[in-house]
């Protein structure tokens, strides 16, 4: 069947295009389950929250708990540490964003935006560079030091020096009474 250079769209043209488009949609729909199966499954998602008793954590002590397969640092900060963290000028920070899942996301990285109660700093202990676990009470800012490629974090978990691009993530959490916290 000869098709002239310019012709009115045909019923047949429409059918060709519709068939092709339908096949493309079907192809994508068939691939999606094959890819999506790799995403975190229901049992992984189910580990979404944990509860921690804070009464045993002494002033100046850091404990590490496991949440969703990742470490979470809980630091009982001393008044002096809180003051240093609060007095740090925002201009000195490498990452100006709060990185707090409990807030909207656009806040600045002042200490107030990274804690719920100033004496408790709670951050995900995964270096925002390539995922190593920073070591506590080390580095040039007395917070954490990541030995993998040399990132220094302060006592608000903020990146101060090194290749890591972001502050340590503050997970969503809420206090339950005076002495317990629920993360997630």
């Amino acid at each position: 069947m000869a098709i002239s250079e310019q012709h009115e769209p045909h019923r047949r043209d429409f059918l060709y295009i519709a068939t092709g488009a339908f096949a493309a949609v079907g192809g994508v729909a068939a691939v999606w389950p094959l890819i999506h199966q790799m995403n975190p499954d229901a049992s992984v998602q189910a580990l979404a929250s944990i509860e921690i008793d804070l009464s045993a954590i002494e002033l100046g002590q850091t404990v590490t708990v496991k949440w969703q397969g990742r470490p979470v640092f809980i630091r009982h900060r001393t008044p002096a540490e809180i003051k240093t963290a609060q007095d740090t000028p925002l201009g000195d920070l490498k990452d100006q964003v709060s990185r707090n899942d409990g807030l909207g996301g656009a806040e600045d990285a002042s200490d107030a935006n990274r804690v719920v109660r100033p004496e408790w700093l709670i951050v995900v202990g995964v270096c925002t560079h390539l995922g190593c676990i920073p070591v506590k009470d080390q580095g040039d800012f007395n917070g954490w030091f990541c030995p993998c490629h040399g990132s220094h974090y302060d006592l608000s978990g903020r990146i101060r020096q090194g290749p890591a691009p972001e502050n340590l993530l503050v997970p969503k959490y809420e206090f339950i009474g005076d002495d317990a916290v629920q993360i997630g």
Binding site: I35, P40, L130, C132, A164
Partner: protein
């Protein structure tokens, strides 16, 4: 290019005649693997292709039997590898051959690649052959990386964490991609499980690309130490028995070298900390990948920016894809390019230097040197190669492959005398 077709297969027995008229498999294999006309002057650097095929076969064979005893679960993986080492009959041998086999594979592939760089084997008409080789190199790296995660030691875990986190540098979708790779919020059981599945799959994809690589090779024919095209039949020898014998001899020497590691120093190429079970709450003080990744690791750490480091590291491999078009010289072999030859050896030293720096902590002078050598690596490919082709005066090329071997072109006499 008629000289590139070997003598065709002539079925002798009645059965093979019957077979060939139904499935002409010998008709395909015979001119490819037996009578294939091969330049008469190939040196020992050309034996590494065969050695690579051997390595791939060894990895697949030992891997399949290891998989009969290995358990891809975070609670059992480390223990099952110890079980292979202690309880399974010859398990220690199979595992040491497989683990050192990975290293041998990379030794062979690096020699094979630098051979290509020295003799200009990436130039027209062998661009596709070269590009398929780079694809094989990338598949090998992915396979070895995932294999190293399987024993679930400390370095398995933290190597996996650092390398998969590279993808989190991608703007906007980075975190989605890492979660997709992990199947969770960190490297964990789902990650181990899928890495096992992929570690089983990828070697067979390598087999597929090897077939394409050899197919492309048999269209253009081998390059050779002079870099000259094959001009007549007397420039070549049938692959069998000449090169089956030469490759075979080189393979035996290579196997001795391989065996030396397996039997006398099976753990020397590995990191002792991988005999400590993975602990997701403690990062080892020093994270270093296996030796064959060290140059790329040094490049990654040379750049003080996360995304920048990732881009430059992948760029170091990507630049190999466009190499055929970066080198502007028409002369293939470095033997006839006095300047390129020197730059080639500088590049070799720079790559070894990067490997050395990749194993060192990222501080002080090590970082400075990593930066200098990284810059030079790219300078070599992106500036030196294009410019050199324009300014260098190559030495006079011999008339033909035969002339380079015999000092004269004897018009086919040598063959009939032989």
């Amino acid at each position: 290019m008629s000289e590139l077709h070997g003598e065709p297969y002539q079925p002798q027995s009645g059965f093979m005649k019957w077979m060939e008229s139904r499935l002409p498999i010998m008709g395909l294999l015979y001119p490819t693997a037996v009578t294939f006309p091969t330049p008469r002057n190939l040196n020992y650097w050309w034996t590494f292709g065969g050695i690579l095929m051997f390595c791939l076969t060894v990895q697949i064979m030992t891997g399949i039997v290891l998989a009969m005893h290995y358990v891809p679960h975070v609670d059992m993986a480390f223990e099952s590898v110890e079980h292979i080492m202690r309880d399974v009959n010859f398990g220690w041998l199979l595992r040491y051959v497989h683990a050192n086999g990975g290293s041998m594979f990379f030794i062979a592939v690096y020699i094979h690649m630098f051979r290509g760089l020295y003799y200009g084997s990436y130039k027209a008409p062998r661009e596709i052959l070269w590009i398929l080789g780079v694809v094989l190199f990338i598949l090998m790296m992915a396979t070895a990386f995932m294999g190293y995660v399987l024993p679930w030691g400390q370095m398995s875990f933290w190597g996996a964490t650092v390398i998969t986190s590279l993808f989190s540098a991608i703007p906007y979708v980075g975190d989605m991609i890492t979660q997709l790779l992990w199947g969770g919020f960190a490297v964990d059981n789902p990650t181990l499980n899928r890495f096992f599945s992929l570690h089983y799959l990828l070697p067979f994809m390598i087999v597929g690309v090897v077939v394409l690589h050899i197919w492309a090779l048999h269209v253009t024919g081998n390059n050779n130490p002079t870099g000259l095209n094959v001009k007549s039949k007397q420039d070549t020898l049938p692959f069998h028995p000449f090169y089956t014998a030469k490759d075979g001899f080189a393979l035996v020497v290579f196997i001795l070298f391989f065996a030396m590691f397996v039997f006398f120093a099976p753990n020397i190429l590995g990191d002792p900390i991988n005999y400590e079970k993975a602990n997701s709450l403690v990062t080892p003080e020093h994270i270093v990948p296996e030796w064959y990744f060290l140059p790329f690791y040094a490049i990654l750490r040379a750049i003080p920016d996360k995304l920048g480091g990732v881009i430059v590291m992948f760029g170091a491999i990507m630049v190999l894809f466009i190499l055929p078009w970066l080198d502007t010289s028409k002369v293939r072999s470095a033997s006839f390019r006095p300047l390129y030859r020197q730059f080639f050896w500088v590049l070799v030293i720079v790559c070894i230097g990067l490997g050395y720096l990749g194993a060192k902590p990222p501080e002080g002078a090590y970082v400075v040197w990593s930066r200098i050598l990284t810059a030079y690596y790219f300078f070599h490919f992106l500036v030196i190669l294009p410019v050199l082709g324009l300014v260098e005066r190559p030495r006079t090329l011999p008339q033909s492959i035969t002339q380079s071997v015999l000092g004269k072109d004897d018009g086919g006499q040598a063959e009939s005398k032989g």
